[in-house]
């Protein structure tokens, strides 16, 4: 049974005195309130929370949180967050980042933080564009996107965040939509409770430079049919009328209609986020409209040893074993001689 903590906080308690300066209508506002709600629900003492960010629109986030915060330099938030968590494993460490910050300039730190499975929560705002520098293509921009630095369309293949996370041996990957506050709050809460690196990709809208980029999938009128919210232990079912589902046909996922060709709920795959073999989760993370619905929810959540715990355990073990207990012991260890 999950631990029930009665929180002394409301979302308001996490609001700092700084005026929020994102553009009106930016998806970041909704993400901020979802995170504040999640923290209120979690009830972790405020002083034990640290928000670390890099550079970009999303990276202003720490200023708006009444917790400890460090707005750092472009791409390096994963490394700084890693240092914070290793130095003090008692802290709840959150990294706020974007598609440029995490996947371009900070790609190396991002994959290595995941590989180490350091217990931090990474919220990646994916708007498929560079906002702060005013509209250049990013590593997640779809091929062909016309931007200021790709006036004739990009010729690059985009990264898929989930693919990268799983490829880097990631143990927690979830996806949500900026404006879906209840789903987002729930996912941030689960990310926080997961021991190890949690990556949450947020499909976020940039109203100025890439407005509506996710609309084909997440717009109110289509989202039920074009997304699927995965729940651990539940059959993969979606659609406005709950009439569609996913089955495994051979080695591939397939969208089916319930009731057609004798298909019932029993034929659908049951989502297992805790399965360590990432095969199906990988396919789920990569589902793209129109062939598939885009997967939301917790796609992968596999328990494993965290870097920070392992460091603590090793320190404890070596401290117990070693004869060297303080600096004087070290100074006098090994070959020394006396001059009388």
């Amino acid at each position: 049974m999950a631990e029930e903590i009665v929180s002394k906080y409301t979302a308001k308690d996490f609001k700092s005195d700084q005026e929020v300066r994102w553009c009106p209508g930016c998806g970041d506002h909704a993400i901020l309130s979802s995170v504040q709600r999640a923290l209120a629900e979690l009830g972790i003492p405020k002083e034990k929370i640290a928000f670390i960010s890099g550079i970009g629109c999303s990276s202003r986030f720490p200023y708006y949180m009444d917790t400890y915060g460090f707005h750092s330099i472009h791409g390096r938030a994963s490394a700084i967050a890693t240092g914070v968590k290793t130095a003090n494993p008692e802290l709840s460490v959150w990294q706020i980042t974007g598609d440029g910050d995490a996947l371009a300039i900070g790609g190396n730190h991002f994959i290595h933080a995941i590989r180490r499975n350091i217990d931090i929560n990474i919220i990646l705002f994916n708007n498929e564009i560079y906002g702060l520098t005013k509209g250049q293509y990013s590593p997640t921009s779809q091929k062909g996107l016309i931007t200021k630095t790709s006036p004739y369309g990009t010729v690059e293949e985009p990264f898929s965040v989930g693919e990268l996370v799983i490829g880097a041996k990631g143990k927690f990957f979830a996806r949500t939509v900026d404006t879906n506050i209840s789903l987002s709050t729930q996912i941030y809460t689960e990310a926080a409770k997961h021991n190890g690196t949690s990556v949450v990709e947020v499909l976020q809208n940039c109203v100025i430079f890439n407005d509506g980029i996710h609309d084909t999938v997440v717009a109110k009128e289509v989202r039920d049919d074009r997304t699927i919210v995965l729940k651990h232990g539940q059959p993969m079912i979606f659609g406005k009328d709950n009439d569609k589902g996913l089955i495994l046909e051979g080695l591939k996922l397939k969208v089916v209609k319930l009731g057609e060709n004798g298909i019932t709920e029993k034929n659908l795959i049951i989502h297992d986020a805790q399965e360590s073999n990432p095969g199906i989760q990988y396919m789920l993370a990569n589902m793209r409209y129109p062939e598939y619905p885009v997967a939301l929810g917790v796609i992968r959540a596999v328990p494993g040893l965290t870097y920070d715990k392992s460091v603590q355990e090793q320190l404890k073990e070596i401290k117990n074993k070693s004869k060297i207990k303080c600096m004087d012991d070290l100074l006098m260890s090994g070959s020394t001689w006396k001059v009388e």
């Binding site: 700084q18 640290a50 200023y63 949180m65 915060g69 460090f70 240092g83 290793t86 730190h109």
Partner: protein, 614 residues
């Protein structure tokens, strides 16, 4: 039978062990140094190894050397020219011929002077003749065949047998300097306690060399080096990288902080990370990062979280860390960045020494970005300056750049072990929990340091970052505020001057010529200046450890000399820095950029010329 060999008492001797990088010269040199140190000699060593782990066998590029300078008076450098060269192959002669003292001793392995090896080293036929060393004290020892003979009943494969050649040579050198074999024998017993056969083989080779040297009695003159007169205390040998690492450990203990090092391996700085990684017993969190940037950024994160944070690197890595150093300056977090300088630019000469990162350390960042810059000047004083760097970083809430170099990092010398109780306490300026709200950029009047609010402390929640802020911690683009903060950050670093010792003059304190050095050239400059003084020349020395800020008394010293000459292993970076900081003086320069330290002769000759021209 009485010993016919002639014993000469010498004050100081330089030995150089040289061979292929696989010949075990570093170990041989180290064992000899330890033995000399245990005997009570003062000493200084310098390993000189090729960048390639295994360059082609027998070539000059693959020569690995280890120089030991030891004696019964104070030793400050590994020495310029060797009294004794041990050459395991012809390439070792090629690499070292010009560094042997005229008339010095050369011991070489006859068995390895094959036609093929001679040709590989770039000789026609006879290296000794071709180098005009015939009149030197040449000892051609059949080392290879002797070890084969000595170990024939050991049942070892030929390769393992030949691997003991270095111990045969070492045995010969022990005889030459009248040293006890016990330390070396114990070393093998310990090192190979699971392989008693190998331990025994090495010991047999060592003794065979010793007895061979005794038998041939050709080793005249025998040098006798008495113990040095050094201060009372307990000593150990230490190299610069270990001393640096230990300085940080000591600082962490004195500050009551946990030590965090985030680093990426890079020659010649890796030893610091390795040493600290081994010190989990003292609670060190060592983090081998994915790159240089992550090295400093994890450290900066740890500093934000309240650890004593350090990162170690060499010149190319410092370049990669510069943006994060800027962040540390802006966030005003304590961190020590160690740059163990090597030959540059770019990959340059990774295993060689140079002092050419000074400008990078002082200015290699965007914006007005001052940091404290300190340079160590001997292998053992790396401990003291690492400690000081950490103390200043923490107490003044500033990044400190600590410069070492390849020569200091790898060189060793005996070190009088300090007691922790004798080191000063370090007082981190923790924020007052009762004063809320916490204003991150509020400063104390004396040092201008902000206070350190550690995440986890209730009530002190705050945000910092790379954007310009007001003293309340709010982001600000107000022009006057930016200028104010730039000036405050500069002034904060300037104020460190109140805590650094006055510059010390070696010599009369006034006169014709002042030799000026900084960091790792100290030993060479001191030796040269002392020898010049002994010869009656009017010359003094100052060597800088504190580069930014400079000590208070620089002007008072400089004005008492007619001529100032700045000596450094670069094209004149410190000279130019002094020209900017103390413009009223004229600075001459002695520079060298060959990837090797100065020689004492170099300095002396150039100084004499200057003095004669006055």
């Amino acid at each position: 039978m009485s010993k016919k060999t002639h014993v000469i008492e010498r004050e100081k001797v330089v030995i150089r062990f040289s061979g292929d990088s696989g010949d075990g010269m570093q170990l041989t040199g180290m064992l000899f140094s330890d033995t000399a140190a245990l005997f009570g000699n003062d000493l200084s060593t310098f390993p000189d190894y090729p960048a390639e782990i295994r360059a082609p066998q027998g070539t000059v590029g693959g020569v690995s050397g280890f120089q030991v300078h030891f004696g019964h008076s104070e030793i400050n450098t590994p020495g310029d020219f060797s009294d004794v060269l041990v050459a395991m192959n012809p390439a070792a002669i090629k690499a070292n011929a010009k560094w042997i003292k005229p008339g010095g001793t050369v011991i070489y392995d006859e068995g390895n002077f094959t036609e093929k090896n001679i040709e590989k080293a770039g000789y026609l036929k006879d290296p000794i003749k071709e180098e005009k060393l015939e009149d030197y004290n040449i000892i051609a020892a059949p080392i290879s065949s002797m070890v084969k003979e000595a170990l024939k009943d050991f049942g070892l494969d030929p390769k393992s047998v030949l691997r003991t050649k270095n111990m045969f040579a070492l045995g010969m050198v022990y005889w030459l300097f009248d040293r006890d074999l016990k330390y070396t024998e114990d070393y093998f017993d310990k090192k190979f306690n699971n392989k008693p056969g190998i331990a025994e083989a090495n010991k047999v080779a060592l003794r065979a060399g010793y007895y061979y040297a005794e038998t041939i009695e050709a080793l005249t003159p025998v040098y006798k080096i008495l113990p040095a007169e050094i201060a009372k205390g307990t000593y150990r040998n230490i190299n610069g990288n270990t001393a640096t690492a230990w300085g940080f450990l000591a600082a962490a203990e004195k500050a009551g902080l946990e030590l965090f090092i985030g680093s990426y391996p890079i020659t010649p700085a890796t030893g610091i990370l390795e040493e600290l990684a081994a010190r989990k017993d003292l609670g060190v969190k060592s983090f081998q990062a994915e790159d240089e940037i992550a090295g400093i950024c994890t450290s900066l994160g740890a500093s934000f979280a309240g650890n004593l944070a350090v990162t170690s690197t060499s010149g190319p890595g410092l370049a990669l860390k510069s943006e994060a150093i800027g962040l540390a300056v802006m966030a005003e977090l304590p961190i020590v960045i160690v740059d163990v300088q090597r030959g540059g630019p770019s990959t340059g000469l990774p295993t060689k020494t140079e002092q050419a990162d000074l400008m990078q350390a002082l200015y290699g960042r965007n914006g007005e970005c001052p940091v404290v810059v300190i340079a160590s000047s001997s292998p053992s004083d790396c401990f003291h300056f690492a400690f000081e760097a950490a103390r200043i970083a923490v107490e003044h809430m500033t990044p400190v750049l600590l410069l070492s170099d390849s020569y200091l990092a790898n060189g060793t010398e005996p070190w009088r072990i300090p007691k922790m109780e004798d080191l000063p306490k370090i007082n981190p300026p923790f924020a007052d929990k009762t004063k809320v709200p916490f204003l991150p950029y509020k400063r104390d009047a004396e040092k201008l340091a902000r206070s350190w609010a550690i995440p986890g402390t209730p009530g002190l929640e705050h945000r910092i970052g790379g954007l310009e802020k007001t003293d309340k911690g709010t982001v600000s683009y107000v022009p006057e505020n930016h200028e104010l903060m730039v000036n405050l950050r500069a002034e904060k670093v300037e104020k460190v001057v109140n805590e650094i010792p006055d510059l010390k003059v070696f010599g009369s304190g006034s006169g014709n010529l002042l030799v000026v050095g900084w960091g790792g050239s100290y030993g060479y400059l001191l030796t040269a200046v002392r020898e010049l003084q002994a010869d009656g020349y009017d010359v003094s020395l100052v060597n800088f450890n504190f580069i930014n800020p400079l000590p208070k008394n620089v002007r008072d010293i400089f004005k008492k000399f007619k001529k100032i000459v700045v000596c450094e292993l670069n094209l004149g970076q410190f000279a130019n820095y002094l020209r900017m900081k103390h413009q009223e003086f004229t600075y001459d320069q002695i520079n060298k950029v060959q990837g090797i330290p100065f020689t004492i002769n170099d300095i002396k000759e150039k100084c004499i010329k200057m003095l004669e021209g006055m």
